[in-house]
């Protein structure tokens, strides 16, 4: 069985940090796991660097920082009620803005007396159309804003709906 020296353990730890693993507890877990793999897989007198370089890619798909990001994502998702894409979130906002007006319009349509029903309904629907233009305009502006000018909800971001906090934006880099 290969025996790791302190310098090699420091090397692994520094490499984990350099590749985006900053959570101390995750560093501890990974360091121990990697050490066991090396101790069990590398023969006495074997090339530590070569074995380490060959072993570490099995931990991730593209980059080691994925583990850190996945950990943060799971911790942030705690107590979440729904995870929405950017467009789903905008659709929800639009529905919330305009939903009460639509409900009012339907109510007007059904409770208006037969005489003048059309006039009442048209008045209500025209008002709704005017009110809906404002959120619709905001939506169009947001959707057409280039990514670099959109720091609030970046493209490819996900929106986590929960209780505390109510809304949390997860940038694409956190996913």
């Amino acid at each position: 069985m290969y025996c790791l020296c302190d310098e090699q353990i420091d090397f692994i730890l520094n490499d984990l940090r350099e590749h985006g693993i900053h959570t101390e507890s995750l560093q501890m877990n990974l360091l121990d796991h990697i050490c066991i793999l090396i101790e069990q897989g590398l023969e006495e007198g074997g090339d530590f660097r070569e074995f380490y370089t060959a072993t570490i890619p099995s931990f991730y798909k593209q980059e080691l920082r994925e583990l850190e990001e996945e950990t943060h994502f799971l911790l942030r998702s705690k107590g979440a009620l729904a995870l929405l894409s950017r467009s789903q979130f905008f659709l929800l906002l639009f529905t919330l803005f305009i939903g009460p007006f639509i409900a009012y319009d339907m109510l007007v349509f059904f409770i208006s007396p037969e005489a003048g029903k059309m006039a009442h309904t048209l008045t209500a629907w025209s008002a709704s159309l005017v009110f809906s233009l404002f959120p619709l305009l905001i939506l169009v502006v947001l959707l057409l804003t280039p990514a670099r000018f959109d720091p609030l909800i970046p493209r490819r971001a996900k929106i986590l709906l929960g209780i505390d906090p109510l809304i949390r934006i997860l940038p694409a880099s956190d996913l």
């Binding site: 302190d6 420091d10 959570t23 877990n29 360091l31 796991h33 931990f59 799971l74 911790l75 998702s77």
Partner: protein
């Protein structure tokens, strides 16, 4: 044959909780090896899936941890909290029900010798 990560992802918490229920306390590497051993290599839990899940379980208060110093490095042992023991029973029951539903939905006939 090893199962796809998509299939395993949804059951990982249940697998980890059940293993901890059966083994009192375990560390990460031990969990991956135990799963390989019990499933004859059909399920291989990746480090990329296991450690974030363990951290989430810890944050949820379902597992407790204790550390052991091995020279310059630290080994973190996980064990079930009282809430974790209750949750394990729920999760195993839920998964068993789900499997029954899938067998019925996909019309899978049990293998006969």
């Amino acid at each position: 044959m090893t199962y796809s990560s998509e299939l395993i992802k949804g059951t990982l918490k249940t697998i980890v909780l059940k293993l901890l229920a059966d083994n009192k306390k375990m560390y990460g590497y031990e969990i991956t090896q135990r799963v390989k051993e019990l499933t004859l290599d059909k399920i291989q839990i990746t480090e990329g899936a296991l450690y974030p899940t363990l951290h989430a379980l810890e944050a949820d208060g379902l597992v407790t941890t204790e550390v052991e110093y091995i020279g310059k490095r630290v080994r973190k042992y996980y064990s079930l909290s009282p809430a974790g023991k209750v949750k394990t029973k729920e999760k195993v029951k839920e998964l068993a029900n789900f499997m029954e539903t899938m067998i019925s939905l996909l019309d899978i006939k049990p293998k006969t010798a």
